[in-house]
């Protein structure tokens, strides 16, 4: 039974299922997200604790309570203030500014129906609830403050900076929501301010006021700071305009301080950042008057704010309802996860069977599978990017009304399904590539690499050829190293150098001195180098001599003047005399050869002239009316004169062939040649009544030679066979070829007993039958041999029993060789 998924339509169905599952999954997710968003909005719209009003009121109330506690309650005891009037005025002014105090001087916190609060200090309390401090502070929501510490829930409350301190000379600093307020317990008229920022960032906190006449209260004696000590303190120089950080001058005396710049103020500050002294620029004197020692604000102040019980209950109920909804959403998410799981499962199924060709019963690359892997991966990447954008944009509009429309939501989810399916299809293509083992092959990178590799291979080819050349060169050097010279001398050099080293080592050891060793070694090495140099010179002389011998072998007999210092001087002299002797002998031989040819030529000329007369008169005689007997004699004369003429002509040709002048070597076809000669001699062959059986194997054999001479060779050989073959026998002519030669063989049965060797018969004027009666002149075969040699071929005769074999070998045209060169 075959797996149905192996068929393409069912795979399409699978894809459809995956699409539906993905769409359903995303639809569930989207609808649940909408539900969660709606719940959130419900809470923030309907629960006080979750509202902005709560946040605003809490902040406002906290500020008011802090001011009421720290400024009012902390500075009062019973019904009156504990601070002097100046301080009291400033406190009340500040409280009024912040709306915590009425015109008539009583504290008014304001109406906060949904919040309950308690602030207590110095045993006094402001509150709007019956609950005790402990009860209120145990509330699940809200905040409390004590001793500069705040417990607060950051989700409800926006924390701002609250704090302050009191100095030991009557100044109190409060900083509220980042703003600082200085309050003085003494008269501040005529105060000059000085810039000083050591601890706080706010503008107002920068300003500290001092009386420059020195009437600003001095620090108490127990502060441990006296004017006499000031000179050892750190001095800060400030520049207003430039707002630079203080320039620190360590351990400086007051005498050294000066300033021409009115904007520059000079302070002395101790290690705790307490101002110790201020420089009066007008009077150019130091005022040792100011000490700021921070004392924390009231420590027994408690502030506690909590939402009303009703608000808390309302909030708890809403949260509880949300929890139930959350569980429901979670459940739906599980359903969505299951959908997603099945969608993935179908995708995996698809991956397993994608690309299966039911006809071929194997996995095949279909249309898109053949695309470059990089393109598919790129598409996948683009799809992922697109999906990310799609989802994030959609999430932005999820809470909007449009999304709540079921059609729009469905369309949106179908979009996600489509993207999922496209991703599955692309992945399927890639996976199919892997299944077909074509993943790497179909990548663009692979193609490019392959292309590059092919190019590289060409380069490698060049490289290999280059290396081959190098190798040949190395081999050449290797051959040289095998030469007698190198074989003989290299070991000698090695031995000499080694001996030099050992001897110098012995000397060095004997003298027990490193320097001696080095000197001895250098000297001996130099000696070795000299030895090698001289040896090389001799070697060169020997190689020159060897070259000279080679020249002589090649036929260059010109003498060379030897150098008397050479080791080979005597040898060269002897060689010169030998070569001149050889040269003379060769010249002699050439001359005698030429003389011989001249002789033959002259003789043949001299023979020709009388022969001409004889022939002429015999001819005339034959035309006379003579008696029959006389006519017979004349006929004999005619025949013999003709033969004489032929002999002289042959003799002349033979002499010419040996001298090898005016040769015109050309290319011709041995097969055609043999056929032509046979056709040419047809009459003669018929006259002798011999059958010539030919066996010509090759279709064409190109040989080198002179047409006329080759014709004479073949003609002579056949002629010879005709003349000396036994009646009623056949002549066998074969033509074959070797790698370098064309071989023409003529065999016949001799009509007489052959008691000669092959070499003898080709001698001039040699004839098989000693009687010399038949029509031959004994020159035919020797002409054949001479001509064959002249044409760079060879001619051989082999008498074997009664079988006479003549073999002509002609040189083939070396096509292969010429093409190689």
């Amino acid at each position: 039974m075959t797996n149905p998924l192996k068929k393409a339509p069912l795979r399409a169905a699978l894809i459809l299922i995956a699409f539906i599952l993905a769409t359903v999954c995303s639809y569930i997710v989207v609808s649940e997200i909408i539900k969660a968003e709606e719940n959130d909005r419900y809470i923030s719209e309907n629960c006080y604790i979750h509202s902005i009003r709560y946040n605003t009121e809490l902040n406002e109330l906290y500020q008011k309570l802090w001011l009421a506690g720290n400024m009012y309650l902390a500075n009062r005891s019973g019904s009156g203030y504990t601070v002097n009037e100046r301080m009291q005025e400033q406190i009340e002014q500040c409280l009024k500014e912040y709306g915590v105090m009425d015109r008539d001087g009583s504290i008014s916190i304001g109406e906060y129906n949904d919040l309950e609060y308690i602030v207590s200090c110095n045993g006094m309390t402001f509150t709007n609830t019956d609950k005790s401090l402990d009860e209120l502070s145990s509330s699940n929501y809200g905040i409390w403050w004590h001793d500069e510490e705040v417990s607060h829930d950051s989700s409800f409350y926006e924390w701002r900076d609250f704090g302050g301190y009191t100095t030991n000379y009557g100044k109190t600093v409060y900083y509220i929501n980042g703003e600082a307020h200085n309050m003085y317990s003494f008269d501040t008229t005529g105060l000059n301010y000085y810039y000083y920022n050591a601890a706080y960032e706010t503008d107002t906190a920068y300003r500290n006021y001092y009386k420059l006449d020195g009437s600003t209260p001095l620090p108490p004696a127990d502060a441990g700071i006296g004017s006499e000590n000031a000179r050892f303190f750190t001095v800060y120089i400030f520049s207003y305009e430039l707002e630079q950080l203080p320039e620190v001058i360590e351990n400086i005396t007051s005498d050294e301080l000066y300033s021409d710049d009115a904007d520059v103020e000079i302070f002395m500050v101790d290690d705790n950042y307490n101002t110790v002294a201020v420089y009066d620029l007008e009077n150019e004197t130091w005022i040792y008057a100011v000490v700021e020692k921070a004392i924390p604000l009231a420590t027994d102040l408690y502030i506690c704010i909590a939402p009303s019980d009703e608000a808390a209950r309302e909030y708890d109920a809403a949260i509880a309802r949300l929890d139930i909804d959350d569980q429901q959403i979670l459940r739906m998410f599980v359903v969505a996860a299951i959908c997603a799981f099945f969608a993935l499962l179908t995708a995996v199924l698809y991956f397993v069977y994608s690309g299966y060709d039911a006809n071929a019963k194997s996995f095949k690359l279909a249309a898109f599978d053949k695309w470059y892997t990089e393109i598919l991966l790129g598409m996948l990447g683009l799809l992922a990017l697109g999906a990310y954008g799609y989802i994030s944009v959609a999430l932005d509009i999820v809470p909007s009304k449009e999304m709540r429309d079921i059609f729009i939501a469905t369309a949106y989810c179908a979009g996600i399904g489509v993207m999922f399916v496209i991703a599955v299809l692309i992945l399927g293509c890639i996976i199919n590539k892997i299944k077909c083992r074509r993943f790497v092959e179909t990548t663009l990178i692979f193609k490019l690499l392959k292309f590059c590799f092919r190019r590289l291979k060409v380069c490698f080819g060049w490289l290999r050829r280059g290396l081959g050349r190098l190798n040949r060169y190395c081999r050449m050097v290797g051959l040289m190293s095998h030469s007698a010279y190198f074989k003989r001398h290299i070991p000698r050099y090695i031995v000499a150098t080694a001996v030099a080293f050992i001897v110098s080592l012995i000397i060095g050891t004997a003298a027990n001195d490193g320097e001696a060793f080095v000197i001895a070694w250098l000297l001996l090495t130099a000696l070795c180098a000299l030895y090698i140099h001289l040896d090389l010179r001799d070697a060169r002389a020997i190689s020159r001599l060897s070259k000279r011998i080679e020249q002589i072998r090649e036929g260059d007999y010109s003498p060379e003047e030897p150098d008397i210092r050479d080791i080979t001087y005597k040898m060269q002299e002897d060689l010169n005399s030998i070569s001149s002797g050889v040269s003379r002998a060769v010249d002699e031989q050439i001359r005698s050869e030429r003389m011989k040819i001249d002789l033959v030529t002259n003789v043949s000329h001299d023979l020709k002239t009388p022969l001409t007369s004889i022939i002429s008169y015999v001819d005339l005689l034959s035309k006379e009316d003579l008696p029959d007997v006389a006519m017979d004699y004349v006929n004999v004369l005619v025949n013999k004169t003709q033969r004489l003429k032929a002999i002289i002509s042959d003799l002349f040709d033979l002499a010419k062939a040996t001298s090898e002048t005016d040769m015109k070597l050309e290319q011709l076809d041995a097969v055609i040649l043999v056929r032509q000669v046979l056709a040419d001699m047809e009459d003669k062959i018929n006259r002798f009544g011999r059958d010539i059986r030919t066996d010509i194997q090759p279709e064409s054999v190109k040989v080198i030679g002179e047409g006329k001479k080759l014709y004479r060779i073949v003609q002579n050989v056949i002629d010879n066979a005709l003349k000396y073959s036994l009646d009623n026998t056949r002549i066998y002519l074969t033509l074959s070829q070797t790698d370098t030669q064309a071989v023409i063989t003529v065999k016949n049965i001799a009509s007489y007993e052959m008691d000669f060797t092959g070499d003898e018969i080709v001698e001039r004027f040699a004839r098989g039958d000693k009687s010399r009666t038949s029509e031959g002149n004994g020159l035919g075969l020797s002409i054949a041999k001479s001509f064959a040699q002249a044409c760079e071929g060879s001619f051989e005769v082999r008498p074997e029993g009664d079988v006479f074999t003549a073999e002509i070998r002609l040189k083939k045209v070396e096509e292969a060789k010429t093409s190689v060169q």
Binding site: F652, D662, E682
Partner: protein, 238 residues
């Protein structure tokens, strides 16, 4: 024709026997013969007698044949046949290039000598006035000419009898004078048949043609075998 029959031939050779033999031979053929035994005598003879052809040896005392020939060529256009014992190609080429019309080697064949004399005379006397040997000559090559319409070959204006095949071969080779053709090529052109082992057939025809057109078939002037390659008709200038 009478003109040829009555031509006067000057025979020059330092060997009197040879001169006599040649004279006899030529007189038997009906020519008038003048004799000279060296180059000087030949030149003298030429000034005094009306000579139509000269047979001249090369190696002669006083003035050798070639020098004499050069002198003659400055004034006269009559045919000169060189008769020499020197048989090498280089000698022949030298002789022909110095102005000889023909070159016969010693010992000569009397029949051939006579044929050459006649041929040269005919060429000189008849083709010298080529107009009267009119008729259409489609191809002209040296002494050979072909009338394609009549399918006729002429040697020095004299018709030669050839068989149809022989004529075809001659016409084909004449049309491509100087070019060498293999037996196969000739066969396929002239027989218009597929060729196979035709060397013999072609060679037989060639030999027959040669016997008809060549004075000495063993040493052909026109129809030559190029050994190992093929056959050709030598190309001559006019």
């Amino acid at each position: 024709m009478n003109e040829i029959e009555n031509a006067t031939i000057l025979v020059v050779d330092d060997d009197k026997d040879i001169v006599n033999a040649i004279s006899k031979l030529l007189e038997m053929e009906g020519y008038k013969v003048e004799k000279a035994y060296d180059g000087m005598q030949a030149l003298d003879c030429l000034t005094s007698k009306d000579i139509q052809l000269i047979l001249m040896d090369v190696m002669m005392p006083k003035l050798d044949g070639l020098s004499a020939m050069m002198k003659i060529r400055t004034t006269k256009n009559i045919p000169i046949i060189v008769l020499s014992a020197k048989s090498e190609d280089s000698d022949k080429i030298l002789g022909l290039s110095m102005g000889a019309d023909d070159y016969v080697t010693k010992p000569y064949n009397p029949m051939e000598l006579v044929a050459r004399v006649r041929s040269n005379l005919r060429r000189y006397l008849m083709l010298g006035s080529a107009g009267n040997v009119s008729g259409s000559r489609d191809i002209q090559n040296g002494s050979l000419s072909v009338d394609k319409a009549a399918k006729q070959l002429y040697i020095d204006g004299e018709p030669v009898k050839l068989t149809a095949t022989e004529y075809k071969i001659v016409e084909f080779l004449m049309e491509n004078a100087g070019r060498v053709f293999s037996a196969e090529e000739i066969y396929s052109k002239c027989w218009k048949e597929e060729s196979f082992a035709v060397e013999n057939t072609v060679m037989v025809h060639i030999r027959h043609i040669r016997e008809k057109i060549e004075i000495n078939p063993a040493e052909p002037e026109y129809l030559k075998v190029v050994w190992g390659i093929g056959y050709k008709i030598e190309k001559f200038g006019r």
